[in-house]
Symmetry: C2
Subunit: 486 residues, 2 copies
């Protein structure tokens, strides 16, 4: 039986235990890499398909750009260089030589220019846009890519921070600043509905501070979420890139008025990190809890008939239940493995299936089934004829999971205007703190040094002389959310 550390004992260990025991993922052989196992990948596929529909329906087209980026491309945008140079996989050679079965790098295959494995694709995409954009007729370009990217992180954690991860990266090019900003904000709202309606995760949205902004962006908007250890996880970002990449890659266009104009850009992405958020927002000491809308199995049927009594009729009864659920478009499977019922109960709790249906001889004889909810633990016996009502039970679970996560977020978010209380609160336990800030890097840095909390996002700008920065006492420029973060 799977052994999982309790959340209260060691949250971080609980997290890893759940991932490994529920068969979501495993460690790859190269440090910091991750193998996504079928159960984890199926979850990712459901999230991916949901988001991909949203992306396509909002007028974006999928495409694919190369993994390999010439080193010189990274140099072209000053902030982008600084942001990514320190954590790159660098390809320097193109051949190995095998001698007596031992492989060494062939020195003669050294590349003229080193190649970077993409940490993100702005540079290569803007190199292509230079070829594709000449006139206002070519704009907007609204492209999305599902891809793997590599950032050579020192400290990695499954799903949250791995040296290779899977993501979606949107890249758009526009004729005007207004249009590009509108796109940036539209995407944040799209992510918000993905998180809230499908992952059942409440979000806070806002702009990033200078220090937390994406390398090369004029503005970065982020989706901030609260984990069960009350730390923040940045779960998605949408960047307004201004003309930074357009200028760096010399992409201009001829306007309707026949004037040469700069091209405005956005980029945005969410990654396999979302799965990390999902685990840490909903999971408990029994394991995962997966919201019905994205669950690989919404319902798992456990047939219990150890002595194979009335085998054929019993199996038919189980199949009938299964078919009724499939007819209601419920993703449903039968666990007819050789494991014991007890093992199966625990296993599907661990794997977070929203509903379990137990069918034993007693149920079979009375034409009923026992339905167990993963979220509340409630059990209910119901007639097999009533199985179509489970569609609304699943909706109820989906809503309940969101409400519960939202209450948790609200209960652990405080508005403070006294820096001593701020420090005390954060030394007691993690939380989100809404507070006023003077907008200076200095204040932000000091707060981080003293409390480990960073500005997660800027909720709104303020212009009222009575509002003071919680740290400096200087006039406040913004209302922000502070928290310790992943």
């Amino acid at each position: 039986m799977a052994k999982i550390t309790k959340q209260s004992e060691n949250f971080s260990k609980w997290y890893t235990d759940v991932i490994l025991e529920a068969d979501l993922a495993d460690y790859g052989p190269v440090k910091g890499t991750m193998v996504i196992k079928p159960y984890g990948y199926s979850l990712w596929q459901n999230v991916k398909n949901t988001l991909n529909n949203m992306i396509e329906e909002s007028g974006h087209e999928n495409a694919y750009f190369p993994l390999f980026i010439p080193k010189s491309f990274l140099e072209k945008e000053a902030k982008h260089v600084e942001g990514f140079a320190k954590e790159c996989a660098v390809v320097t050679h193109s051949k190995l030589v095998s001698e007596d079965g031992v492989l060494t790098v062939d020195p003669s295959s050294k590349l003229e220019e080193e190649i970077i494995v993409r940490p993100t694709s702005e540079t290569i995409i803007w190199h292509m846009f230079k070829k594709w954009v000449t006139s206002y007729r070519d704009l907007p370009i609204k492209i999305n890519q599902w891809a793997n990217v590599v950032r050579w992180e020192m400290r990695t954690r499954l799903f949250l921070r791995t040296s290779e991860f899977l993501w979606q990266e949107g890249h758009t090019a526009h004729a005007s600043k207004e249009e590009a900003i509108k796109e940036t904000l539209m995407i944040v709202e799209m992510y918000k509905s993905l998180f809230e309606e499908h992952l059942a995760i409440p979000t806070m949205i806002g702009r990033k501070s200078n220090m937390e902004r994406f390398a090369g962006a004029d503005e970065t908007y982020s989706i901030e979420t609260m984990m069960k250890d009350k730390k923040a996880l940045q779960a998605g970002t949408s960047h307004y890139l201004g003309t930074n990449f357009g200028t760096a890659f010399d992409v201009k266009f001829q306007s309707k008025e026949n004037k040469e104009q700069p091209v405005f850009a956005t980029s945005w992405g969410v990654s396999t990190r979302m799965i990390g958020a999902l685990i840490m927002v909903h999971g408990d000491d029994k394991g995962l809890k997966i919201p019905p809308r994205i669950a690989p199995h919404q319902v798992v049927i456990i047939p219990i008939n150890p002595k194979n009594e009335d085998k054929e009729k019993f199996d038919n009864f189980v199949d009938t239940a299964h078919n009724m659920l499939k007819e209601s478009s419920i993703r449903c499977s039968i666990d007819d493995s050789n494991n014991s019922p007890g093992f199966k109960f625990n296993n599907w709790e661990l794997k977070g299936a929203p509903l379990r249906i137990d069918i034993g001889l007693k149920e079979f004889q009375s034409g009923s089934v026992t339905v167990c909810r993963r979220d509340t633990g409630e059990k209910e016996e119901m007639s097999i004829k009533a199985l179509n009502t489970l569609t609304s039970t699943l909706e109820d679970i989906q809503k309940g999971m969101y409400d519960s996560a939202n209450s948790f977020l609200e209960e652990n978010t405080f508005e403070l205007n006294d820096y001593n209380k701020f420090k005390k609160q954060l030394s007691n336990e993690n939380c989100f703190i809404k507070a006023y800030w003077d907008g200076s890097d200095a204040s932000e840095l000091k707060i981080k040094e003293q409390t480990k909390a960073t500005i997660r996002c800027i909720l709104k700008d303020v212009n009222d002389p009575n509002l003071k920065c919680i740290f400096s006492g200087e006039p406040a420029k913004h209302l922000v959310v502070f928290a310790k973060a992943y």
Copy 2:
């Protein structure tokens, strides 16, 4: 207007022209890399989704394994080393240093062990199987991965041979040789139905000779297809790997009888190369011809109303046609761009949409539309009420495209038993030649040297003293297909 070289003039140039002009793909900045543009990616997505359904329905699960493979893994299987060492992207460093905006590789970030960007994933997957497989209860494992892989080819061509390509790679582990071989063959049949039923491409299937076999396989089965220049394209492979990788990675299992047994393996894949096959099997001097089942747009409507007469009613009429097609589950779009009708006609011919519907004022006034077939060029005026019959027209086009490609394959496949005729035939023009072969590397090599034709696959084994090798005159072991190949 797009300019495309004629097939008869220069087939290779025709191929590239079509890809670039129809907006399927473009060249990436690193030599040999490819950008798949939205239209090409949409085509790929349709093929991918079709195949993914087949893979999942046949009991395989999707997963994801890391891009990065330790160099030492490649060393473990002798033939695999030889097969891939010469064309690898080697990551040697993990950091760049930026000085005055110039990036250089940080020598201190040199990796202890070099990392290879996966050319295929057998080694990393069998490393993981070692962790996952202990008992017969863990078998079979039937996994598929959609991924990018890198093979550093010197001579590249869009879709056919690019240093990075997208593919699906299946990897399975079995308790018995019989089961693994059954899997290998089942996959070949699955690929055959993908090609024949969806891509409308007839196939020849057979085993590869020693010389053409996959590095590390005991047997390789391939899907061979004939392009319009009568050269062969190997469009998919399925490998029986025996215990080669199981042994190399020390994966054994406890059998039901409590005995330690070796694990048997298969792997199989098809790639973005399929798009190359599609172009070269169906395309003509006007451009692409895409089979309806995988066409991004099965029907494109061209509204022609230059003076905007009766604008509102006319647009409603066009929308009605569009909606009727959508209700028949036809993938359909309206080209309402500002381009001229003539440009649109040529453009959708170039892009290979199976059906075009022209709606001008004449049609609007008589409640009809003009339907143009890409395959035959036929035009037909029909009542808007009859639009639902286009479902069967699309099926007819699908079938017609297959039949036409199949006739072409048959007309250009010869059975010969005289080596002089063989040489003469191949010096006159490309073709497939069925002939008997003695099974020796020597004969195969000599034939290749003298005619550039290789053994595409072994169609069947023979054991009849009257049958002689076409080259050596020695007793024949196999009936094979020879052809010049991509």
